[in-house]
C-alpha cells in the first residue's frame, strides 16, 4: 500500500545528510537567523577554534531581543545591551554576514522579518537561537529553535544533529465568531494539551479552519506551538503563502520564482498521510481566551472565572494553581472581566504584524485609553511600522493615548527598558506569562490583539465578541492612496 507523505517528512527527507544507528540524523540547514543575545558565545567558540561561518550567504543577523524601542537617534543607555549589540556588529563584519542592525529600515523581531523579507520560504530548513523559531513553520518551512552550542554547530557545518520528531496532526474545524482570533485558538489548544502535550513532536496544523486563516493568523498559531511543548510546528503552504512572499526583499524572482513555485506546490501533505497522533478542535464555539496563571496552559474563556486549587485533579496541580494565584495576586472565583489592568502591551513575534495592528486599530479608533492604563504598541518590525504609518494607524493609536514605538522584542521579554514593575498587571499580546517574564514581579495575561485593544479602553477584560469593530475600509480613509 502506498501511503501519502506529510510535508514534514518531505522536507526532512530532502535535507537528510546522514542517519546514525543511534537514532541521530544530520539535517542540512538552508537558513540560519542569529541575534545579539544567544550568539556571542557561539561566535567566540568559532574564533577560538579558528573556524569560519560555512555559509555567510545563508546566515542573517538581526538585533531584536534587547534593543531600546524609543528614539533611535539617542545612544543606547544600557551598557550591557550596547555591548551585545556591538558584539553582533563585530561578529557579522568578521564572519561576513548580512546584518539588520539597530538603524536598519529592515530591523525587527527575527520571526517577523524572516517571513516578511522572503528569507523564510516553503520547504526550507531554518534554525535560530530562539524557541519561537517554530513561527516560520506557517510558511511550510521546517524551523527549529536551538541553543548556543547548536548555533555554533550550524555556523561551522551548516547542519544540525536531531532525533527525528514524532508527528502530531492538530485539525482545526469550524469558523470563528467575530471578535475571536487565531490567538484564542492557539491558547485554547495549549490549555487542552498542556505545556508538555506536544513534547518530542512536530505539530502539523491541518483542517479547513487552518486553510481559512490568513498567513499572519497562521504565524500566530505556529509561533505558540512551542508553548505546548512542540519541537516545532508546520502548515502546508498554499497560494496565500506564495502571495505573501512574492515581491518581498529576498524572494526569488524571474525564472527562480517559477522554479520555486513548482517545488512549493509539491510540498503540501498528501491525502492519506499518517501521523503518530491526531487531535481535533472545533473552533466555532470558541470564546475569547485570557491566561490567568504563570504558564500559557493556565488559560480560560472570558466568561469564566479564576479556578480554585481545590478543583485540581492532583496534588501537584493544586500546588501549581496555588502558586500561580499567589504570584498573580488573584483569588479563586474572580470573574475574568473583573480583573483591573495597569498596562497593555501590543507587540512580540506572536502578534505585532500589520494585520494584528489593524485589528487592534479597529477597536481603538475614535476611543481613548482608560485613564488608569499605560498602553504601548511595539511593531514587530520597522517595515511593519512604516506600513502601518502609511495607513495612518500610528495616528489612531497615538490619538487614543497609546505610545507608538520602534521595533524589538521589548516587553515580551523585558530585556530593554520596557518592563513591568513588581505587581503591575498587563494584558499582553505576547506568548509567555511565566513569572517575572515581563519584568520582575510583573503579572502577565496573554490575550489577542483585539482583546488587548478593548482592555486598554476599558481598563479590564471584556467579551470581544460584543465589541464594535470598525470596518477596515473606514479605518484609514484614503489609506495608502491618501
Amino acid at each position: 500500500m502506498v501511503t501519502g507523505k506529510t510535508i514534514f517528512s518531505k522536507v526532512w527527507d530532502s535535507h537528510l545528510l546522514a542517519e546514525r544507528p543511534d537514532g541521530q540524523s544530520l539535517i542540512y540547514v538552508d537558513r540560519h537567523l542569529t541575534h545579539e543575545v544567544t550568539s556571542p558565545l557561539a561566535f567566540e567558540a568559532l574564533r577560538k577554534a579558528g573556524r569560519r561561518v560555512r555559509r555567510p550567504d545563508l546566515t542573517f543577523a538581526v538585533m531584536d531581543h534587547n534593543v531600546p524601542t524609543g528614539d533611535r537617534s539617542l545612544p543606547v543607555s544600557d551598557e550591557m545591551s550596547s555591548k551585545q549589540m556591538k558584539a553582533l556588529t563585530g561578529n557579522a563584519t568578521q564572519f561576513g554576514l548580512t546584518l539588520f542592525d539597530y538603524f536598519s529600515p529592515y530591523q525587527g523581531i527575527s520571526h517577523v522579518i524572516g517571513p516578511e523579507l522572503g528569507l523564510t520560504i516553503p520547504g526550507i530548513t531554518l534554525t535560530c537561537g530562539d524557541s519561537h523559531t517554530s513561527t516560520h513553520g506557517a510558511l511550510g518551512a521546517l524551523a527549529l529553535g536551538i541553543g548556543s552550542s547548536e548555533g555554533e554547530h550550524v555556523f561551522a557545518t551548516q547542519s544540525i544533529w536531531i532525533k527525528k520528531p514524532r508527528e502530531m496532526a492538530i485539525t482545526l474545524r469550524g469558523r470563528l465568531r467575530k471578535g475571536v482570533t487565531s490567538k484564542d485558538v492557539i491558547l485554547s489548544v495549549i490549555r487542552r494539551i498542556g505545556t508538555g502535550g506536544a513534547i518530542g513532536n512536530v505539530v502539523e496544523f491541518v483542517g479547513e479552519a487552518t486553510s481559512n486563516f490568513s498567513v499572519e493568523e497562521r504565524l500566530t498559531i505556529t509561533n505558540m506551538a512551542i508553548e505546548g511543548g512542540a519541537r516545532t510546528a508546520i502548515i502546508s503552504p498554499d497560494e496565500k503563502v506564495y502571495e505573501y512572499i512574492r515581491g518581498s526583499k529576498f524572494a526569488p524572482t524571474g525564472a527562480d520564482w517559477g522554479d520555486a513555485l513548482e517545488q512549493w506546490r509539491s510540498l503540501p501533505t498528501d491525502p492519506g498521510a499518517v501521523y503518530d497522533s491526531r487531535i481535533d478542535f472545533n473552533i466555532s464555539e470558541l470564546e475569547p481566551q485570557v491566561s490567568w496563571g504563570t504558564n500559557p496552559a493556565m488559560t480560560v474563556g472570558v466568561t469564566e472565572s479564576i479556578p480554585s486549587p481545590s478543583e485540581a485533579p492532583t496534588k501537584e496541580d493544586a500546588l501549581s494553581v496555588e502558586r500561580a494565584l499567589k504570584y498573580m495576586g488573584l483569588a479563586p472565583g474572580t470573574r475574568i472581566t473583573d480583573i483591573p489592568l495597569d498596562t497593555v502591551f501590543i507587540g512580540s513575534c506572536t502578534n505585532a504584524r500589520l494585520s494584528d495592528l489593524t485589528e487592534s486599530a479597529r477597536v481603538i479608533k475614535g476611543n481613548h485609553v482608560n485613564k488608569d492604563v499605560r498602553a504601548l504598541v511595539v511593531p514587530g518590525s520597522q517595515l511593519v511600522k512604516r506600513r502601518a504609518e502609511e495607513l495612518g494607524l500610528d495616528k489612531i493609536f497615538v490619538e487614543a493615548g497609546f505610545e507608538w514605538r520602534n521595533s524589538g522584542c521589548s516587553m515580551c521579554i523585558g530585556m530593554n527598558e520596557d518592563k513591568l514593575s513588581p505587581g503591575e498587571r498587563c494584558a499582553s499580546t505576547s506568548n509567555r506569562n511565566f513569572e517575572n517574564r515581563q519584568g520582575p514581579g510583573g503579572r502577565t495575561h496573554l490575550v489577542s490583539p483585539i482583546m488587548a485593544a478593548a482592555a486598554a479602553l476599558h481598563g479590564r477584560f471584556i467579551d470581544t465578541r460584543e465589541v464594535e469593530l470598525i470596518d477596515p475600509e473606514e479605518l484609514a480613509p484614503g489609506g495608502l492612496n491618501a
Binding site: 538552508d30 545563508l58 546584518l99 529576498f250
Partner: protein
C-alpha cells in the same frame, strides 16, 4: 568541550514543582553576558532572592542541608520555554550534574546533552518517590551512566538513555569536530544540489 561524564555521585535535592521554565532557571535580565562565567549566581534568581536582591535562604538549594547537591529531582516538563543555554550553564556552574524528571523541554534537553548535564526521564511515580526521599536531605545517589542505573547503595533502578546522548556525555564529545571529520563529503554533496531559488538573492543595501 565538556568534560567526560561517567557517573554522578552526590546528594539529591528535591524541587517540588512542575513546568519549571527556563525563565525561572535563568531570568532574562541576566542574559546580557558576552562571556561565559559565574552563571551560578543567577540560577533560580527570582526564587532565591528577596526584593532587595539578597539571598533569603529559603529556596531549597540554599538550605544548608542541600548545599553541594549534585542531583536535582524535579517534576514534569522541566526546562520548557526559552532556548537560552544559560539555564544549563547556570545549573552546571552551580554543580548540578544530573536532573531527574518525568519529562523535559526538548531544547533544554538537547542543550544539556552538549554541556555534560545528564537528564534522566523516569515515570511520574518513581520521580515522586525519589523526590519525597530526597526531601529528608539524606539521599545520596550514584548515577552510573555506562550501566544506566541509579542506586542508593541498597537498591538500584534502571533508566533509559538515548545512545547518542550517552556516547556524547561519556566521551565529552565536541559535535563540530565530529561532524566536520566524518560528514564533510555529505554536506558538500548536498550543497552542490541546492536549488538556486533557495539561496537569497544578493541583498540590496540593508
Amino acid at each position: 568541550m565538556p568534560e567526560p561524564l561517567r557517573e554522578v555521585i552526590g546528594k539529591a535535592c528535591p524541587l517540588e514543582a512542575d513546568d519549571v521554565d527556563t525563565d525561572q532557571i535563568f531570568p532574562a535580565q541576566f542574559l546580557k553576558a558576552i562571556e561565559r562565567r559565574g552563571m551560578e549566581s543567577y540560577l533560580f534568581y527570582g526564587l532565591r532572592h528577596d526584593e532587595r536582591g539578597n539571598v533569603h535562604g529559603r529556596f531549597v538549594l540554599d538550605r544548608p542541608e542541600f548545599r553541594g547537591a549534585r542531583i536535582l529531582v524535579a517534576g514534569k516538563n522541566f526546562g520548557i520555554g526559552s532556548s537560552r543555554e544559560n539555564a544549563v550553564w547556570a545549573l552546571t556552574d552551580y554543580g548540578i550534574r544530573c536532573i531527574i524528571a518525568s519529562s523535559f523541554g526538548d531544547i533544554f534537553y538537547n542543550n544539556a546533552s552538549k554541556n555534560g548535564l545528564l537528564c534522566i526521564r523516569l515515570p511520574g511515580q518513581a520521580v515522586r518517590d525519589l523526590r519525597e526521599r530526597a526531601a529528608t536531605a539524606k539521599l545520596t545517589l550514584t548515577v552510573d551512566l555506562a550501566g544506566q542505573t541509579i542506586s542508593d547503595g541498597r537498591t538500584s533502578v534502571a533508566f533509559e538513555a538515548e545512545p547518542h546522548i550517552k556516547e556524547r556525555l561519556l566521551k565529552g564529545m565536541d559535535d563540530v569536530t565530529f561532524t566536520l571529520e566524518n560528514y564533510e563529503a555529505e554536506i558538500r554533496e548536498y550543497e552542490r544540489r541546492i536549488p538556486r531559488f533557495v539561496i537569497p538573492r544578493t541583498p540590496r543595501s540593508s
